[in-house]
C-alpha cells in the first residue's frame, strides 16, 4: 500500500553505469531480476553473490547506501507480511527462543526478504543512474509499444505540474481548516480531485493544440538512436550474466 513519489530517484553522475545506454540497463535489470527470482531460496550463498553484485554496481555508480535504504521503504508492507509468515504458517514447527515458528513460514519469509530486496535495489539502481528520457528511449528500443512510450513521456513531463496543482489545492483547503479524518469527510478532497481531472484534461487539449501548431499529425517524431558499442553490451550484461549462471548452478545444486 505504498504511495508513489512525484520525484524520480535519479542521482546525477557520470559513472560507467550512468553512461550505459538506457535500453541495455533496462534489459540488464530484467535479466538480473529473472535470475534472482528463479534461484531456489535455499541457496543462501547465491543471494550473497547477488548482494555483492548490487553492491558493486552501487559502488561504481556512486549511489549512497543511505539513499538505497531509504527508498527500500516501499517494500515495507510486504516485509511486514513476510515477518508474519513464520507466526501464522502451518507445521511442521520449530522452536526458537520459546516461540513456535512454522518451518515453511520461515523459508517463505526468507524468500520474500531476499528476492524482494534484490529486486527493489536493482530497480533503485536503474532509476538512480538513468535519466527518465533515457529510460523511455530504452523502452522504445526494446520495442515497447509506441503508444505506451509516448503516453509515458507525457505522463513524466506533467507529473510535477499536476502534483503541484494538487498540492496547491490541498494547501488551500488546509488553510481553510480542512483536515479529513475519516472517509465520510473526504468529499471535499475528492471534489478537488475532480477539478484536478478537468484541469489535467483541458491541459491535455491545450498541449494537443500546441503540438498541432508545430506540425504534429498523429505520430511522434523519433530522434536519433544512441550508438551502442559491443563494449557497452558487454559492460551492461556481464553482471546480470553472472547472476544467470549463478541461478543455473543454484538450481542444479539446491533445486
Amino acid at each position: 500500500m505504498s504511495g508513489g513519489h512525484a520525484h524520480a530517484l535519479h542521482i546525477h553522475g557520470h559513472s560507467v553505469v550512468h553512461r550505459l545506454p538506457g535500453h541495455l540497463k533496462v534489459a540488464a535489470l530484467f535479466l538480473f531480476v529473472v535470475a534472482v527470482v528463479a534461484t531456489p531460496a535455499r541457496a543462501v550463498w547465491a543471494f550473497g553473490l547477488y548482494a555483492s553484485v548490487l553492491g558493486l554496481v552501487a559502488g561504481l555508480a556512486g549511489v549512497p547506501v543511505r539513499f538505497i535504504a531509504r527508498r527500500m521503504l516501499v517494500e515495507v508492507p510486504f516485509l511486514a507480511f513476510a515477518l508474519l509468515l513464520p507466526l501464522v504458517g502451518e507445521g511442521p514447527f520449530l522452536e526458537f527462543g520459546g516461540v513456535r515458528l512454522s518451518e515453511a513460514g520461515v523459508l517463505a519469509a526468507w524468500t520474500i526478504l531476499a528476492k524482494g530486496s534484490c529486486g527493489v535495489v536493482g530497480s533503485i539502481l536503474l532509476a538512480a543512474t538513468t535519466e527518465i528520457p533515457n529510460i523511455l528511449a530504452g523502452l522504445n528500443r526494446l520495442r515497447a509499444p509506441k503508444a505506451i512510450v509516448a503516453i509515458a513521456g507525457f505522463m513524466v513531463r506533467y507529473l510535477e505540474v499536476i502534483s503541484g496543482e494538487m498540492a496547491r489545492m490541498r494547501v488551500a483547503m488546509a488553510a481553510r481548516g480542512y483536515e479529513p479524518k475519516a472517509f465520510w469527510q473526504v468529499k471535499a478532497l475528492a471534489t478537488s480531485a475532480g477539478a484536478l481531472f478537468i484541469r489535467s484534461y483541458e491541459r491535455g487539449e491545450r498541449v494537443y493544440m500546441a503540438m498541432v501548431a508545430r506540425g504534429y499529425a498523429g505520430s511522434m517524431p523519433t530522434f536519433g538512436d544512441v550508438l551502442t558499442s559491443t563494449a557497452d553490451v558487454v559492460r551492461a550484461l556481464a553482471l546480470p550474466g553472472l547472476a544467470v549462471i549463478t541461478a543455473a548452478v543454484a538450481l542444479v545444486v539446491s533445486g
Binding site: 527518465i132 493544440m209 498541432v212 508545430r214 504534429y216 517524431p221
Partner: protein, 245 residues
C-alpha cells in the same frame, strides 16, 4: 511592403454557441511588429489560433504570405507561422529541451545533422543552449518562455505569433525576452496586456473587443487616446508617462 498576414471577414463561434470572433479584418505587412490589445475574453487567443489553422476558416479568409489557409496548405502554413502559447507548460511537452525544440522541425521533415544544427541555432537565439539536456519543467518560468520561443524558431517561421509573452515574468526576464524578440528578423504579432512592453516592441497596435477589431493605429497614438483606452478597459500602469518614453 508585401502583405504577410491577411485576415478577411473572419467569424468564429465555439460549440457552446458563443461568437468569439465577429467579422475581423486585419492586414499585417512583412517585417511589421504589431501588438494586439483587448480585455479578457475579447477573442484574441481565438483569432491567433486561426493564423496557423488550429481553427479553420471559413467563414472568412486567412491568407499567409499569399497562400490561403485551407486543408491542403495547412501544414505549410504551420511551418511558416510560429505560435508561442500563453502557458509555456502547454508548449513544452517533451521530456527534454532538446527534443522539444526538435519536435517542430522533425515534424516538418528535417532530420540528422541539420536538425541538430537547427536546435542549437534556435536555443542560441534565446541564449538557452546550456539547458539543452534539461527537463523543461525544471526550468524557471522565464527560461521556459525563452525555450518556448526557441521551439518555434527552430522551424524557421516567417511570422511569429506570441500570446502574452511577458505575463508573470520578473522585470529582468521580461527585459531579456524583449531584447531577444527585438533581435529577430520576422513579422511579429503579439497579444499582450503589457502596454509599455508593446510600446517598446511594436510600432503598430490593434484593439479587439467582443470579437470585433475596433482600433488600428500607431501604438503611441492608441495609448495616448484616453477615451478609446477607457472604453476597451485598457490602462497604463500607475505613474507611467507616455511622453517620457
Amino acid at each position: 511592403m508585401s502583405t504577410s498576414i491577411s485576415v478577411t471577414d473572419l467569424t468564429f463561434s465555439y460549440p457552446g454557441g458563443l461568437k468569439a470572433l465577429d467579422g475581423v479584418n486585419l492586414q499585417i505587412g512583412a517585417g511589421e511588429r504589431v501588438a494586439m490589445f483587448g480585455p479578457n475574453g475579447a477573442g484574441k487567443t481565438t483569432l491567433v489560433l486561426h493564423l496557423n489553422g488550429i481553427h479553420m476558416p471559413p467563414p472568412g479568409r486567412v491568407v499567409v504570405g499569399g497562400t490561403p489557409l485551407d486543408d491542403t496548405s495547412v501544414m505549410d502554413i504551420r511551418r511558416r507561422v510560429g505560435m508561442v502559447f500563453q502557458d509555456p507548460d502547454d508548449q513544452l511537452f517533451m521530456p527534454t529541451v532538446r527534443q522539444d525544440v526538435a519536435f517542430g522541425p522533425a515534424n516538418f521533415g528535417v532530420s540528422g545533422d541539420e536538425l541538430d544544427q537547427r536546435v542549437l541555432d534556435a536555443l542560441g537565439a534565446v541564449e538557452m543552449v546550456h539547458a539543452i539536456d534539461r527537463a523543461p519543467h525544471h526550468l524557471s518560468l522565464g527560461e521556459r518562455r525563452r525555450v518556448a520561443v526557441a521551439t518555434v524558431l527552430a522551424s524557421k517561421p516567417e511570422i511569429l505569433v506570441l500570446d502574452e509573452p511577458s505575463s508573470n515574468l520578473d522585470p529582468a526576464s521580461r527585459r531579456e525576452l524583449a531584447t531577444i524578440l527585438k533581435g529577430l528578423d520576422v513579422t511579429m504579432l503579439m497579444v499582450t496586456h503589457d502596454l509599455p512592453y508593446a510600446l517598446e516592441l511594436c510600432e503598430r497596435a490593434v484593439i479587439i473587443d467582443a470579437g470585433k477589431l475596433v482600433a488600428d493605429g500607431g501604438t503611441r497614438e492608441l495609448l495616448g487616446d484616453p477615451d478609446m483606452m477607457a472604453v476597451h478597459r485598457l490602462e497604463l500602469p500607475y505613474g507611467f508617462d507616455l511622453k517620457a518614453v
